[in-house]
Symmetry: D2
Subunit: 461 residues, 4 copies
């Protein structure tokens, strides 16, 4: 089946121009100032931006955490993602110590298959390194199409890996073409501080932030970057939140090391004061790393603009306020970490970034889509609008103003961290490999229409 | 007339894919996996990269300097540029104190008209600021299409402007949409050092480098960046050569200031030791700022890769070795500053950058073409391959190996600073607004086919 | 005549111990746990600190400025200094363009002779460099005992020297053993900003601060430091006020360059908000560089503690509020710059520094006395308590609390910038070369008892 | 008994003057330009510097390491120290996991008592933290007079403590008045690199350096400094060797944190190339951290001069070349780490520092003596020449030139790492609490004359 997107303003990480796009067999076939293709379905994109579908490189769907499980699974989560303009997610597959990496991937395939409405890939979290694990890595990369490996420097006693594990993974990644991702916080310090806070009866959500200070993130970020330099490997720091961490990434990059950084919309628009909201409302704003003091927002925007940070992930990890978040009403360490952002990531970055003049529209496309595709081996299949690429695209109305609310969002969670916030711009229709997932603001897809994506090795494109 | 470029690998600052391109009426009309256009001339680009024509934002054609004039004028210079894959130059128009800015532009129009074989724009050099000059600036920007203004912080007693002049231009640029460019070296210090060196009988070319130390460039670069920050204006630092300067630009950028930097191929491949060549051969390598110690090359590559520097200019400013350079045989201060690089800029960056794995091919296109178009108000007319853009493009053979030599180059100058250096890759055919300038390695254009380009105001695209 | 200071706690830049001190012939003769010298006058110092007399390396006595002259001359100024625990000042001698340096010194000798009640030396300000000046410098250093030279980077059109003048002085200082001092602010930028502010009708004192931004100080400080590095010379930056400047000094020092910095008590305890006081009271707080935002205070304390700044000067430059400061009631640029601080420098640093736990008592002595002696060639004659040194000392009561007020201070000026501020500690008695200047809080000296001090060349002691 | 040191040039961290010193009852009683004390023994110090005895804050006497024990014990080691001008050492007491801290001190007392010829104190090494240890710390500080605690960030599986242990010690130190010391290298990375090197058959001494890269030291140093900042505690980084580490300390200090650094003479005069000496001679130069590339020497000198590093320790830890060092002939990891330097520390710093013009003589005294006394709670008892202080002093001949050699040194070890190196200056006589230990270059003391020193709590003096 053929489809022509007519008269839209096509925007990529580099270009912006008005033209028609012909889609055929899931791919973009041609782009021209005028396409007349009688048998094709015509989509009028006049007045809309036509942009590559968003790529969210950081989601946790159907993930167990501290005795509960995220409110969104691969079905509800990807439907919400699609509503928000995102056509690809890369989800974190958790492995279990003592079991094979492949068994972890199998579990994640079973969670996502027949559920996802958009395409998806996996990162693989690793917390131990032994001969078995090292032997499995080449196969995971070559055959399973998983080329990014996540290491936690925090969550002591649970996920936390020590520096030797991190270093070995960095070395293996370099050898086999992987990219190492770190959650960078010093878990030892945090362990001490949280234990002490609880012992002192400090149980409110704000103590979540106060016991995970930015210095602990800066320290771990610098450590990971220096280990990467020593290993001559490559590193992607997830959810960078503060000046202390940005400085470390910038320094490594200025010396030519392959160190990349991601931040999340929450750190750009919310701040630490939200954790102090009364009636345990603060519990809604518990992420790790935590929301920071407000001045960090400008630091992060500058880092994005000057290229020190590359990508925007949602860190989608939703828990209901009632029944999940409130497990920690009397003990902040029991609040499930994370929040719902997969749906709003794209629009929020447009509104706060492009509309408010902080970044160009090309920088926007680059950070919400193209860079993730390039870093995680999906480019040029994903992340751009060009002949030969998958026809993943968003028709975006840059003029409409709307208000974000849990009442209207599509994530399976009972609150929005952005309740009442106004944004300019809205994804009107969204196509995944040429098929509508969202059409005129309505979900028209079906579970299972999303495919698993094998990622290519890390490498300079 | 229509032309179809078939089967090339199209490469832009963001994308890379195989497709056909239809050109009509000087513009790119469509891009498609297959274009069948019976009446069009077919150009087989199989095996070639099809890239946006190079944009050289830093040339001096037909420029008087110290009693002589550059060896290349707008005809020979643009023919050589075209041979090298460059389809746009932005040349520096020098103004005279006491005369109107417009009169300076008129002089430059008369030098270029009927001569240029590719399109060209102008930057305007300013060395004094008074009411007349300030009053003229809005008109220069709005009507003349000149939106970038050059200030020299060196050449004391000749071009050098003091900090108050620089600051006033920064303020005016901010107000009216201009971009300020600086030659950043501390002219006061250099004046002292050169006078002293000559007084001590130090006359060889190497003293050109030793009397213009990198600290003098770093100091001036930092000063210009800080004045830009204070004025909340925008700055483009031309020909950045050393770590001291890169650090200043990086620091300003990390704080969110609109400071940009250019380096030149000579600083990436040559070094200070060339000035010590015997028999006054060192005189061929006299640029200001001078070539630096070799370790700076890696600093510059890292700065390009990490986005601290944005663009590559040739600083084309050719003087014959015999009859011009040798004016300074007994006094290095009399050696005309500059060298021939407009022809080799593009290929050298490909060979040293992409071929040697230092940068991606997208970064290459970005720095030799797209960024200049964006910074100087020519995008998307120039700098990309997309429907609606001018059909300025290069068919580039990435496989061929050749040796650079004055015997085979097309610049009107009797030596090459790259004599004997091997490069991989060659522009085979070059089109300017859809017309061949170079076809199968032969010049097929004619003087005057290049047009003057009015640049748009500076602004976030 | 002999005098024994008994039972005091002797404190130097390094030591602290209880002992007796025997003074004979203006010098310290011995220090012992017990001195029994029958013919000596006994001074009971029990409960007091006995410290080296303060050295104030930055005063302007009897100085013309903008059509008026400072309220304090060498008599009133040095009496006040002595009350405050200071036994040596180094005053800035202003030279006139076109006249000999020696004639400037003669003028300053005639201002100070028969007036000063404590010893004094001179720095010499230079604003032009020509053959005559360069030829005079060796003699000034060798015979006149003036070894420090001041250059202004601000006050465009009045004192401001360009970079070439500064560089030549740096070179001359290195050659002949001088130390270059700079007032580091970018006068060009300030000239633009003040002119613009006045043109916009912004005439209140606060605009003094707003038109002399910290970036202008940071820029000039870094420039001076880099020129010093290039000249391999030595530099003392007077009145450092802000983070931007501290960073530049710290960077130069970390690379091993001989760059030193001074701050003043006003920048440690007052801040920019004082300039906003109603009824033109803000005019009392006009210094150049101006008072800064409050967070800079901590930056300065840290810089003192970590050794990035070395000395504390008062920048004593007093003007009466009525009749002098109020010349600028309708135009902040007409407010005479400066304030009265020579009397309070010592006590304020003790109270805010030592008493509040920010610095050790040894660091206190070092910065208010010893370092200035070492940097300006007066050590060990001045700046310590050791056999052979001049018996310049302060008996300091660390327990007493008092309130600073113009009603009780001894400077010849009608206001105090510290009115109402409480300090802990007070100089009780002060000796200059073994003679009382202040005895039990009363002035007992006489004009002319202070001697001119020839300073030694700059050099590592 | 009384003794008068006559006509020497007394030099302290601050002062330099010619005077006589009267010693009585182990203490300095008076200092005077002339002392006539008939019953006193007269020591003619004409032409000599009389300086505070050196304090070596970093020695390992009689220490077991990898199955062997250091060649020097408290007798031979302190005799050699005294020959070299050192009158106090602070030795590292190793504790055992599972045993009380006090039992460790008892063991160290039994090693030193009746052996030492100069005074000595202890640092206490800790590698685990539990309730017992935490409960013991206050008593150790208050009653045992041990106020400094050493943590290893390297030697994985042996001494290495994790970040939580380090953090808890920092917190305890802050609370009770201790100073935390770290051996800062990332033991995890080093563990990986050494294992890998051995697996690849890389067994020569040079691999000791190559598997302990400076980045691993810089990383750990920065981590320790950041944890100290978070705990608002105090830190002393032992044996700093490289630019990467200096930068971290300087940054912490510039922010006002109480972070101090020590370097060792070996890092100032030797470099990594020594490890490549043939015939396993390289094994003599195995320290941890290792000797670095030569350019780091200048970095360290600059750091000392600008106050970023405070003290010089010898890291005395001697092993014979034959029988000990050569245990690692076939495996660099089996070479006992350390070397003999307690005897040469003082002279080498004078010769390379003061004589060569890198530091002033006051800075010399400060870093080889006074600063250690102040940081470790021994001041003013030790570290200066002032009435009331212990009469620990060195008569130093600054003119004599001599050559260091194992043949003539007094350490109980069969080689010198400085064999053949010439130094200017020599300790002629050395007094400990007023008694000669070395008289006219001969040992005249006796084992056991040295006393154990209880250190005071850490605090701003
Ligand atoms: Zn995380
Ligand atoms: Zn996450
Ligand atoms: Zn230039
Ligand atoms: Zn140029
Ligand atoms: Zn001043
Ligand atoms: Zn002043
Ligand atoms: Zn160690
Ligand atoms: Zn040690």
């Amino acid at each position: 089946m053929k489809r022509v997107i007519k008269n839209g303003t096509i925007v990529t990480a580099s270009d912006k121009y008005v033209a028609d796009i012909l889609i055929e067999d899931e791919k973009i076939k041609s782009i021209s100032d005028q396409i007349d293709e009688p048998e094709a379905e015509i989509v009028d994109a006049s007045g809309y931006y036509v942009m590559p579908g968003g790529i969210d490189p950081h989601t946790h769907m159907d993930m167990p955490f501290g005795g509960t499980v995220t409110a969104d699974n691969f079905e509800t989560g990807t439907i919400a993602a699609a509503y928000g303009g995102t056509t690809t997610i890369i989800d974190f597959c958790l492995s279990d110590k003592g079991k094979s990496l492949k068994s972890a991937l199998e579990k994640w395939h079973s969670k996502s298959q027949d559920k996802a409405v958009i395409d998806y890939g996996f990162h693989l979290q690793i917390s131990e390194i032994n001969e078995d694990v090292l032997n499995e890595i080449p196969e995971i990369i070559e055959q399973e199409g998983v080329t990014s490996f996540k290491v936690f420097m925090a969550y002591k006693g649970v996920f936390q890996a020590d520096d030797e594990v991190l270093f070995k993974i960095l070395v293996a990644a370099k050898e086999h073409g992987g990219l190492v991702m770190v959650h960078a916080e010093n878990g030892d310090v945090i362990n001490y501080l949280t234990t002490k806070a609880l012992a002192e009866g400090k149980t409110d959500p704000i103590y979540h932030a106060l016991t995970r200070p930015p210095e602990a993130e800066g320290e771990a970020t610098g450590r990971a970057a220096k280990l990467t330099a020593l290993a001559d490997s490559q590193l992607y720091v997830v959810h960078v939140t503060c000046e202390e961490a940005v400085e470390q990434i910038a320094e490594a990059r200025s010396k030519g090391f392959r160190v990349y950084g991601e931040t999340c919309p929450q750190y750009l628009v919310l701040d630490q004061s939200y954790l102090e909201k009364a009636n345990f409302e603060g519990g809604k704003y518990v992420w790790s790393p935590p929301l920071r003091e407000k001045y960090n927002q400008e630091v992060l925007w500058n880092a994005l603009k000057s290229g020190q940070l590359q990508a925007i992930g949602s860190d989608q990890c939703s828990f209901n306020f009632n029944g999940q978040k409130d497990l920690g009403r009397d003990d902040f360490t029991k609040i499930p970490n994370g929040g719902p952002f997969v749906e709003d990531r794209f629009s929020l970055m447009y509104s706060e970034g492009v509309h408010k003049g902080r970044i160009s529209i090309h920088e926007f496309v680059d950070m919400v889509s193209t860079q993730a595709a390039k870093l995680f081996g999906l480019f040029p299949r994903k992340g751009t609008i060009a002949p030969g690429s998958d026809a993943d695209m968003v028709l975006f109305d840059p003029a409409v103003e709307r208000t974000i609310s849990a009442k209207t969002h599509h994530m399976n969670v009972d609150y929005s961290a952005l309740e009442g916030i106004k944004v300019i711009g809205e994804p009107v229709s969204v196509l995944s490999r040429g098929k509508y997932v969202i059409k005129d603001r309505q979900f028209v897809g079906r579970p299972g229409m999303g495919s698993y994506l094998k990622c290519n090795k890390f490498g300079l494109k």
